[in-house]
Symmetry: C2
Subunit: 159 residues, 2 copies
């Protein structure tokens, strides 16, 4: 579990560095698929991880979900990622197999109550980020740039 979070955090930071060399209008441009565009998709990844792990699973304060409009620069989204990461990382580091089946009951937007297992939510957060990063890789090629590698090997995650 922890390894895939570490992987996501490494890849996300690589993408923030990648963004530094890309004109801001390309990062903000509305694109097909994903969430809005390159920077908004990164914002979405950052926000969703925090929302599930900090607010929903731990019941802590929700992010005043300002619209993406308030975070329209790489610096702002990366700063938000750093801020949220400090809240998320301790929970991930303390994860243990006993937490897998802990239940969480939520009211869905459609008015139904639903019960999730903590392990289910953690894997959802992992897959969510990898999926959206896959979308970024297509958009990177569309603007003629090499995407960040999705390779998990040789990242020192098992050293």
């Amino acid at each position: 579990m922890k390894t895939l979070f570490q992987y996501n955090w490494q890849v996300r930071n690589d993408w923030f560095a990648w963004c530094e060399d890309v004109p801001e209008d390309e990062l903000l441009k509305a694109r097909i698929g994903g969430v809005g565009g390159i920077l908004e998709t990164l914002f979405h990844i950052v926000y969703m991880e925090y929302s599930w792990i900090h607010s929903v699973m731990q019941g802590k304060a929700e992010f005043e979900q300002e619209p993406f409009e308030a975070y329209r620069s790489v610096r702002q989204v990366r700063d938000l990622s750093i801020q949220f990461h400090a809240e998320v990382e301790p929970f991930v580091k303390l994860w243990s197999s006993e937490m897998e089946l802990k239940e969480l009951t939520l009211l869905r937007n459609n008015g139904e109550w639903i019960t999730y297992k903590h392990g289910e939510i953690m894997r959802h957060v992992i897959a969510h980020e990898i999926h959206h990063i896959g979308q970024l890789s297509v958009w990177a090629r569309e603007i003629g740039r090499e995407p960040i590698t999705a390779n998990l090997l040789r990242r020192g995650l098992f050293d």
Copy 2:
């Protein structure tokens, strides 16, 4: 570990079903990002999982890697997926935490020897598939179709 493989297999099968309603020329069309196009990316996912788990980790026979040219229909790629799945699934089902740190030393294409942990390879295979599926979701939108959901929740994976 097993849950994320189950997730990938469900999502992959949903994509094969999705392909049934899409004209074949759209599935075969060369696209930017990913591996060639929609069907070739699915072929690549199927092949890579088999290659790592069947051939590399278990040292069994390699797939005579016929080029994708020999699998240019949904039926053929799905049949290959079913065939390979029968080889891959038992290994995943028997996975246990004791296998995490088992080492595998390989000669890379660049002539260097490298040692991976089994747990590292398994997570690489998981992330590899989710990443490429993210690419399919962009291409689906580009041809005006709703992609298969990447949501891991409510798939019955923890029932």
